[in-house]
């Protein structure tokens, strides 16, 4: 029983998967690279350098807008947001304060609720500081990486819903191809505003902001913690202060960082070095058309093929969904989806396993082999798992099945010979006699013997049919 109603709004920063930075021509992907090796004079703010807007970033922003069911503003503009920090070379961040590129939208959650998006704007990321004993070093590799910041309305009312919203946002952005979506590397970061009020209160309570959360689970835990912290204060009649707090994943607690009074005046002004962006409807439409299938599209596509819970598990794996989307035929999709779902639920490190996906042709082939009963269901599963075995990578289903020796024996000639052997085997004489006397239940025993003699490769249905023919 919860006494207070919780209200949550979330600001999410998404790093765009562009080839180069937002305003310069250097590589935007600094993963695994040495500090300050992806930095141009524009990025370290040499005097006289001017921003050059990356068209691909605009295109991805349009896709992002579609993925959050939002209007794309045909007119938008950049502004300068001023503050001093060593990871911000220009002394201002180029952002969109007055005229953002993406207008109001919404994200629908699997539980049927919907969270409205206030707007989303483009901006550049800052670099980062690496702290040592007595000094800190600046790494500008990330400075100038394109971001969109997605600002939600305060429509979220539980930690779980916040978790689901972040996850759904992550799905939408990754499916749309807007971001690589690697949370561990900070491709998406969440700032969460949390306030409590008694049910029916006219005004929201004072809010605390938890900055820089980078997993759905930490969003959920931080909100749970804040609910406890703030409700204890309110129970005691103490005020909740408007402040920024940090989340410590190890302790599971939020800690005070700075109060609202210390909030900076960013002295926003229009960015004079970048002309306003005027997007033609053709340009917008072209990019909307280029947007890959989104989670909602897959839900629609597979609604009558896959059970909802299987579908929701699979939706966490965008590459996988795309792969399934490539498969033709309902039964094949169902079969392959179930293999994946069982692997994802059962195998450890399934995520790493899925970093390499077999070709759709191979999956199709395997599904068809199973359909035609060329493989037993266990045999098919065995082949499927081998797709991910480093030593089998790149091999097709038939080759793997052959190597595993799990192909079912459907050759009736060969099978008839085996059946003949079984019937004439003295150990089976009694069973044969019983069957001929009318005992149908011994047929199972005889099929088993055929299977054994074929070392499991016989198709039991065919074997049973041949047995019946021969014994009557």
């Amino acid at each position: 029983m919860t006494k207070y109603e919780i209200t949550v709004g979330i600001e999410c920063h998404v790093q765009l998967a562009t080839k180069t930075k937002l305003f310069s021509e250097v590589d935007n992907d600094a993963r695994g690279k040495d500090p300050n090796t992806c930095v141009s004079p524009v990025d370290y703010a040499l005097p006289g350098m001017l921003p050059r807007l990356n068209e691909q970033a605009i295109r991805l922003a349009i896709r992002a807008g579609r993925a959050m069911n939002a209007e794309i503003n045909p007119y938008s503009r950049f502004d300068r947001k001023h503050y001093y920090y060593p990871d911000l070379p220009k002394g201002y961040q180029i952002s969109q304060f007055y005229h953002p590129i993406i207008g109001a939208g919404h994200i629908d959650l699997p539980d049927g609720t919907s969270v409205r998006i206030e707007h989303a704007h483009m901006e550049e990321d800052a670099g980062k500081l690496n702290h040592y004993d007595t000094y800190s070093l600046v790494d500008l590799n990330r400075a100038g990486t394109p971001l969109i910041e997605i600002v939600s309305m305060p429509d979220i009312h539980s930690a779980r819903q916040a978790h689901d919203y972040c996850k759904e946002l992550w799905r939408a952005m990754t499916y749309a191809g807007v971001t690589i979506g690697d949370l561990y590397n900070g491709n998406m970061r969440f700032d969460v505003n949390i306030s409590l009020a008694l049910p029916g209160a006219k005004e929201l309570g004072k809010r605390a902001e938890i900055k820089n959360l980078n997993s759905f689970r930490s969003v959920e835990r931080a909100i749970e913690y804040e609910y406890e912290r703030q409700s204890k204060l309110l129970d005691k009649g103490e005020p909740v202060r408007q402040e920024t707090r940090g989340w410590n994943d190890a302790t599971g607690k939020t800690t005070f960082q700075r109060s609202k009074e210390e909030a900076q005046d960013y002295r926003y002004m229009p960015e004079p070095d970048i002309p306003p962006i005027r997007l033609s409807q053709e340009f917008i439409d072209e990019e909307l058309k280029n947007t890959p299938l989104l989670p909602k599209d897959y839900r629609g596509k597979f609604a009558d093929v896959l059970p909802v819970d299987t579908l929701e598990v699979l939706l966490d794996y965008p590459e996988l969904m795309r792969k399934l989307g490539e498969l033709a035929g309902k039964d094949n999709i169902k079969r392959v989806a179930n293999w994946f779902a069982s692997v994802l639920l059962a195998e450890e490190k399934s995520y790493e396993m899925l970093s390499f996906l077999p070709k759709a042709d191979y999956l199709e082939e395997l599904a068809e082999m199973a359909e035609k009963q060329e493989l037993s269901s266990t045999g098919a599963k065995e082949v499927f798992l081998k797709f991910f075995d480093p030593q089998m990578k790149g091999k097709d289903a038939h080759t793997i099945a052959k190597e595993l020796n799990v192909l079912q024996e459907n050759d009736t000639g060969a099978l008839e010979a085996i059946v003949g052997q079984v019937i004439s085997d003295p150990a089976c004489a009694q069973a044969v006699a019983d069957y001929k006397a009318g005992s149908e239940k011994v047929l199972g025993f005889l099929v088993g013997q055929v299977m054994k003699a074929s070392r499991g490769k016989a198709n039991p249905g065919t074997a049973s049919q041949i047995l019946k023919n021969k014994l009557t």
Binding site: P41, Y44, A45, L46, P47, G48, M49, L50, P51, R52, L53, R77, R80, H82, Y84, P86, P89, K90, G91, Y92, V138, D265, Y266, R267, Y268, M269, P270, E271, P272, D273, I274, P275, P276
Partner: protein, 490 residues
Amino acid sequence: MKIADKNTSAYSLVSDALEKAEKYKDYNIFISLDKEGALQKAKIIDEKIKNKEKVGRLAGVPFAIKDNFLSPAGNTTAASKILEPLKSPITATSVKKLEDEGAIVIGRTNLDSFAHGSSTENSYFGPTLNAHDKTRVSGGSSGGSAVAVALDIVPFATGTDTGGSIRQPASFNGVYGFKPTYGTISRYGVVAMASSTDCIGFFAKNPEDIDLLMSITSGQDPKDMTTLPDYYNKDGRENAAVAGAASEPHDDAISESHNATSESLPTAGPHTIGIINDFDTDSLDSDIRAALDSQIDALQKAGHKIVRLDMPTLKYALAVYYIVVPAEIASNLSRHDGIRYGYRSKDARTLDEVYGKSRSEGFMPENKRRIMIGNFVLSSGFYDAYYLKAEQARTLIIKEYEKAFSKCDFILTPVSPNPAFKLGEKTSDPVAMYLEDVMSVPLNLAGLPGLAIPVAKNKDGLSIGLQLVGPRRSDKALLEFAKSIKKEGE
């Protein structure tokens, strides 16, 4: 402009220039000279000429760059302590285009620190003296470049003009100084003062040279999103219809005038010349008024028509300028924080001290004044009252010029209300100094081209210049007209 060929060598042109630079050392024109580099480049040009290889249109021509243009030769100091150690890895687009045509930089000229000023007295390296009177200022902020051309050290020099910084020192030292239409020459690689008004331009001895420099340096630069598609080397009229499609400055009103086809682009004369009544005030120097009147007579005699214009909105230009420009200055100077390059205070112990002390010690008083004003007008709660209001007034000024150019082809005004003033005369009174810009800043707010033309000398031997102003992208026509005025005067 003398170009190296069989009869003269690049080496002799460059070494002459370097000798003269040495000879006029007491004027404090150069912050740094690149003797070795310049002579080396001259030798290469001479070698090419000897081998009958193709050389550019400026082969062996020595020139000077204002010390806010980036290039790997020498330090780009912007006449400041904070940038004194700055070595640039890149070359400004404009300088590169000139060098590609064979021109040779001999040195970097003095300016008001970060181009903040109208007298070159705000330089960290001391003032540059007037070419005609060493007790007077050279004007500013591009004082060094103006004097370098006036004293015939180099046939041309680069400058930047944010509120008159080319035209006023040109006028003070008796040379031509041109500020093109905003966006005509790339700003890439030039230390920014105010992004929405900064223009790259030139000092030279005649409009013909400026025309050549314009045809070399103008044009769209992918590294500067505010550059216009090339119109200068095409027929103005034809090009006007497509210009502005790709880029526009941030101000919406400017954007619109950028996009508009310029119906009023002047063709061959006779022309209609507008004279602004509002500039004829008591504070206008009588010799300057006389020079304007006699030029008006000459134009009429040459068959041109004169119209008188009332442009009451221009009285707000200076106020608008000193809100918009400091705001952009404060923003553009934020990057000088002592972290990545430039000066860092020796006794800074904390991060705040690195910022505070490096900036306090590295900037000149005028830099700080503008940073303070700029941050004030942008601060929360004041933005609407100052910055936004100023931008609205700026739109009105743009419209006022559009209206004026529906009645005339060009406008002729003084460059400044007074000729070169005494060193130290206005340094203690910043507002008096700002007032010297009253006739030059409106062009920058509207993005218009303006040419300072030397027309006369007063009884003290000080130069008097007039300013010829045209509509946006009328630069070519404006320079052609200046050439014809010069011929008529001869």
